[in-house]
């Protein structure tokens, strides 16, 4: 591959939100993805329209870029006649080439695409599924099998403040934390990276327990209320651990630093002779030690402190990252397409994510699952449909389809571990990985299932109607349009919403039976 040229036309909707036009710009760094493009050009036109306004949504900018490049890799493979995995392997950055400066100007600190891919292929049964696909194609089965690949990476851990400034973003990218050592031996951790379900309370407690050697149960994480936690930015951009978590660590290290001279004073030792481990300051080579929580009580009493010492172990820290975080992974999806109805069903989904070191595997698993569902939903179900006059016709959950557990397979998830070299824990972000990776994996699988029938694109969400229409067009011998809408959606909401009044006048009339007993739902 010699170059990549992106011309992006994006529909911003009606109003300028927090970062509305910034989202496609964030994507600008990611179209080249894991591949070694010698040349790259990106032109983006953001258009304001009379549709719903847009703003950041899980992944923001990176899903769009990842979708484009991962779909393209499949088309390129088809064009040159090689397996889509092979074309990726030939062009991706090798693990011994890290750190790698990309054509978009980022420095990827670590990664191992080979390892994640090898593991994913094995768990997925890639070769066996390809063999089954071949068999079904030859037999002309009604139900065809497609395999979709997404070897994604993304930039997260937003972000070095300097970079945000260069992008004219309004705020910085730092995060704040403080730690209060209570005389009771309990520890309060105040974080500006406020959790709304991501489990920071657990993860931050684990980190502080490890760092300070106090019990996990004695730690309380406080956040959210600006009277408690006045400084901080946000939980977004998969930044909490790589930025907020580092602020927590920096604050913990300051607590130890503050405690050390006081410990030396109480132990009647020289500061340089102390070592801190498992929650205790120990005079090297002796049994003489004092615990951090005991020190907290002694400092609170303040009866016997070194001259000039501040009677507090509390500390705060603000952390600004030097670089982004670059998680990656190999996602593989097998889809069965019923060529009679156009229905696409996911048979297996396997992903191997490399997010460096992991603090809490269960939380990571939850983030991956939720992200996958969100990305899969975009590929197959969710769509904001507008009519010709710009009226939203999918205005309720009757028409705006959100999948439930019943619509999805069991996911096979696993990890490889290439620690980040830009933070002390070696961690990378994971909050958006699933959303970014899964959409192209699914759409690639759908297209792959019917490619031999003459189809090379299906607009997402790949509804049964769209897939069927593509099949009809292909079998009629007409060229399948490459990227344009293939289905002339003569848009109407489905029966219920039509009644529920996207058009109030009509709607209420339809809702009323002539006998007055009518209604909807």
């Amino acid at each position: 591959m010699t170059g990549l040229k992106v011309e992006l036309l994006t529909d911003m909707g009606a109003y300028l939100g927090l970062v509305t036009p910034g989202i496609p710009i964030l994507g600008a760094f990611m179209f080249n993805a894991i591949y070694k493009f010698p040349a790259y050009r990106f032109v983006c036109t953001n258009v304001f329209t009379n549709k719903n306004w847009t703003d950041a949504y899980r992944g923001a900018g990176r899903p769009e870029a990842t979708f484009a490049i991962e779909r393209l890799m499949d088309e390129l493979a088809a064009e040159v006649g090689v397996d889509p995995m092979e074309i990726r392997e030939r062009n991706w950055i090798k693990h011994d080439e890290f750190p790698f400066s990309t054509v978009a100007g980022l420095e990827y600190d670590s990664g191992n695409y080979e390892a994640a891919t090898a593991k994913a292929k094995e768990l997925f049964g890639y070769d066996a599924l390809r063999a089954e696909q071949k068999q079904r194609r030859e037999a002309g089965d009604t139900v065809q099998l497609g395999i979709g690949i997404s070897t994604f990476t993304e930039m997260c851990g937003l972000a070095p403040s300097r970079v945000l400034g260069a992008l004219s973003y309004g705020a910085g990218g730092w995060e704040h934390a403080s730690i209060r050592m209570l005389p009771s031996g309990k520890v309060e951790v105040i974080t500006g990276s406020s959790a709304h379900g991501q489990g920071h309370e657990t993860a931050w407690s684990q980190i502080v327990a490890d760092r300070l050697g106090v019990s996990f149960d004695d730690i309380e994480v406080l956040h959210g209320d600006t009277q408690i936690s006045p400084r901080g930015l946000d939980t977004y951009g998969s930044r909490s651990l790589t930025v907020g978590g580092m602020a927590v660590i920096a604050a913990a290290d300051k607590v130890i630093e503050k405690a050390k001279p006081i410990a030396a004073h109480l132990l009647e030792a020289n500061s340089d002779d102390l070592e801190f481990s498992a929650g205790k300051f120990n005079v090297k080579g002796t049994n003489s030690s004092v615990g951090l929580t005991d020190l907290a009580l002694a400092v609170f009493a303040a009866h016997n402190l070194p001259d000039g010492a501040e009677p507090s172990l509390d500390a705060e820290a603000t952390f600004d990252p030097d670089n982004f975080s670059f998680p990656h992974g190999t996602h593989l999806c097998a889809v069965e397409v019923d060529t009679e109805t156009g229905e696409a069903k996911i048979r297996n989904y396997t992903c191997v994510d490399d997010i460096g070191k992991v603090v809490n595997p269960l939380i990571v698993e939850g983030q991956v699952h939720g992200g996958l569902v969100q990305g899969i939903a975009q590929a197959l179900f969710e769509e904001a449909v507008y009519d010709d006059s710009g009226t939203l016709v999918t205005g309720s959950f009757v028409d705006y389809l959100v999948p439930s557990a019943a619509d999805l397979p069991n996911f096979t998830t696993d990890r490889t571990e290439s620690p980040s070299t830009t933070n002390v824990l070696g961690v990378k972000g994971v909050g958006e990985a699933g959303t970014i990776a899964s959409t192209p994996a699914v759409v690639n699988a759908v297209v792959d299932a019917v490619r031999h029938l003459g189809i090379n694109d299906i607009e997402m969400p790949c509804s049964p109607h769209r897939i069927w229409t593509a099949l009809q067009t292909a079998s009629s011998g007409a060229d399948t349009p490459r990227t344009k809408t293939m289905v002339d959606d003569d848009v109407n909401p489905s029966h219920n919403a039509q009644v529920s009044g996207t058009d109030a006048g009509d709607g209420s009339a339809a809702a009323q039976g002539s006998n007055g007993q009518g209604g909807l739902a």
């Binding site: 109805t341 229905e343 109607h465 848009v491 029966h495 219920n496 209420s508 007993q517 009518g518 739902a521």
Partner: protein, 284 residues
């Protein structure tokens, strides 16, 4: 959203309910399981002044065996029908269709009477009731009248049940020993039918002796696929028969176009699903 204010009464007999419906409140609505009506009220697509809750009327409940006929009270819930041995044995198509409706919560509240009077063209119980040649008993101030299912549905969300009337029970001729299948096409598990096909048929001596086929959401009301029925009767229950019958499934239909697909696609689906439903009905 919160519904507009309304008065509420919960009579304990059909007679009292009819009296309440005849009262001079401006707009009166019957409330059954509320699974369709309550959303309508909350979206303020309707703002009745009085709700007559028929949920406490004992005589509207129950599934009974009356010789050649199965009688289902209008207030029988979807869940009760799905669990009923009588329904499974004598009207298996209805039992199978009911399992595809919504989720367990909705099935425990929603009623057969409510589903039929609501008459949503995408509702799943209408086509089976039509295919099973049911009769619907409607009570009003002048007593009861019986309406054939074929005459019951007038248009989308519109039936012959008048403003001061109540659907009291559904009489289904027994289809004991008939095979059946309800093939419903949706994009997500919990969704109204994009379209669905209900087939019930009887095989005697290696030949399909009788066949009844109802289509969901292929018109503004549920419809019978008479051409399919004709193509099946007298034929051997083979794949070939199924595909010949399926070929005529879209005859006489007038399906809607919406975000789930256009009319043309629905006509195509009707054929595919009919073929599958016939095959499944033959084997069960």
């Amino acid at each position: 959203m919160i519904p507009a204010a309304f008065d509420y009464t919960a009579p304990e007999s059909v007679a009292d309910a009819i009296t309440a419906l005849g009262s001079d409140s401006e707009e009166i609505k019957v409330l059954a399981g509320g699974q369709s009506l309550i959303p309508v009220l909350r979206l303020r697509l309707a703002a009745p002044t009085l709700l007559v809750d028929i949920g406490r009327i004992r005589e509207l409940g129950g599934i009974t065996d009356e010789g050649n006929t199965l009688v289902i009270g209008a207030m029988t819930t979807h869940a009760e029908m799905a669990d009923s041995e009588l329904v499974k044995e004598h009207a298996s198509l209805l039992a199978k269709a009911v399992e595809t409706v919504a989720d367990p919560q909705v099935r425990h509240r929603g009623t057969l009477g409510g589903a039929l009077v609501h008459a949503d063209p995408a509702g799943d119980l209408l086509a089976p009731i039509l295919a099973l040649d049911a009769e619907l008993v409607v009570a009003g101030a002048d007593g009861e009248r019986t309406v054939a299912a074929a005459d019951f549905f007038e248009d989308m969300f519109t039936t012959t049940v008048g403003e001061n009337e109540i659907l009291t029970r559904i009489r289904i001729p027994k289809h004991t020993g008939w095979g059946s299948h309800y093939e419903k096409f949706t994009r997500v598990a919990q969704q109204w039918s994009i379209i669905a096909v209900g087939v019930t048929l009887k095989v005697d001596g290696g030949v399909i002796s009788q066949a009844k086929v109802g289509l969901t959401n292929m018109s503004s009301t549920p419809i019978r696929a008479s051409a399919v029925e004709q193509a099946l009767v007298g034929q051997a229950p083979t794949a070939d028969t199924a595909s010949r019958a399926a070929a005529v499934a879209a005859e006489g239909t007038n399906p809607p176009t919406d975000t789930n697909g256009d009319a043309n696609y629905r006509r195509h689906l009707a054929k595919v699903l009919t073929g599958r439903a016939v095959q499944a009905a033959v084997s069960g």
